[in-house]
Symmetry: C2
Subunit: 178 residues, 2 copies
Amino acid sequence: MTTRERLISTAAQLFRAQGYHATGIAEVLAAARVPKGSLYHHFPAGKADLARAAADFIAEVMLRIVDDAFLPAPSWQHGVATFCHKLAKLFERREKASACPISALLFDGPEEADFRAHAEATFARLIAAMAAHARRLGVEDADGAAELLLVAIEGGWTLARTRRNADVLRRLASRLFP
Amino acid sequence: MTTRERLISTAAQLFRAQGYHATGIAEVLAAARVPKGSLYHHFPAGKADLARAAADFIAEVMLRIVDDAFLPAPSWQHGVATFCHKLAKLFERREKASACPISALLFDGPEEADFRAHAEATFARLIAAMAAHARRLGVEDADGAAELLLVAIEGGWTLARTRRNADVLRRLASRLFP
DNA sequence: TCAACAATAGACCAGTCGGTCTAGTCATTC
DNA sequence: GAATGACTAGACCGACTGGTCTATTGTTGA
C-alpha cells in the first residue's frame, strides 16, 4: 500500500468515525504513520484535498456494494434484502462507531461550498445505480424506489450507529418493499 | 428571552448548521451577544454542557411537531403525510443548511461516551411517541411503523439537505405507507 | 443602606490547529 | 557516479481553541 493510499484509507476511517473537524491532521498522520511533508506533497491543498479523496474512495466502495447486491438478484425485493444485509454486515464488521459511509465525509466538510455539491453528485450516482437495477428488474417507479431505498439506508445507518446495533438495517428490507 | 435561552437556541442553530466541532464557542457567544463569563456561569462544564442543553431543546421541538401532526389525524397515513409536510416546511423556512434536528447535535459531540447514549434515548422517545400514535390509529405493527418513519425522515432530511430541496421529504409519505 | 449573591464582562492563558518551509533520502536517469 | 526529481521527514509558525480568572454590575431581601 503506497503512502498515498494509506493516507486516504486512514483519513476515510477517522473522518467517518469522528467527523472531519474533530479529526486533526496530526491524528491522521500518526495513524497512517506518514510525516507531514508527505501529506502536503500528495495533497497540496491539505486537509480538504485529503477529505475529497477519501470521500471518492468511499463512494466507489458503496457503488461496488450496490452492484454486488443487485447484479445476481432475481428481483428487486431480493436485491434490496441482499443489499441491506450486506450493509448490516459491513456495519458490524468494523464500522459500529462510524457515520454512514456515504454522507459522513461529505457533510461537515470544509465550508460546504464545494463539498455539498460533491455530496449531491455522489448521492445522485448511487441513486442512479440503484434505479438502473430497479428498472432492469421490472420495478414500476424505479427512480422513486431507488430514492426511497437510499433515504432508508441513510437513516437506518444513523439509527444503527446510535444503537450500536445493525438490526434496524436488516428489518428495512421487508418493511420497505413488502 | 433570557441570556440562558439565547445561548441555547443560538448554539442549537449553529451546531446544526455547521456541526459541533466546527462551531467555536466564540462564534456562539458573538451570535448570541453574550460574554464568555455568562456562558460559564450558566453552563459550568462549558461547550459540552451547552450542547446537551441544545440537544434537549431540539428534542422537545421535535416531539411537539410529532404530536401536532398526529393528534388531529384521522388515520396513520394522514398523520404521516401531515408530519412529512410539516418537516418539509420547517426545512424550507430556515433550515436548508442544517443537519437533521434530531441527530445533528448528538453525533459529533464531545467524546461520544455520554453523547451517544443521549442520542439513543432521544431517538427512543421519538419512536415511542410515534408508535403510541400508530397504535391509537389502529396500525398493526405500530413499533415497526414508527421505526420505519423515523429512519425515513432521518435519511430524507439528509438527502434534502445535500440537495437544498425538501421535495424528497414530501414524497416520503405516500411512498412509505401507500 | 447595605450585604449577599447572581449574572455580566472580557482580559488572559496554555494547548492545539492546519499549514509552511527547509533539509535530507531514495530510486531512476543519463 | 553525478544529476535529477519524487518523496520523506519534522521543526517551526501564527492563528485560534476552549477554558480560567478577576473585576464589575444588577438585583434582591433585611
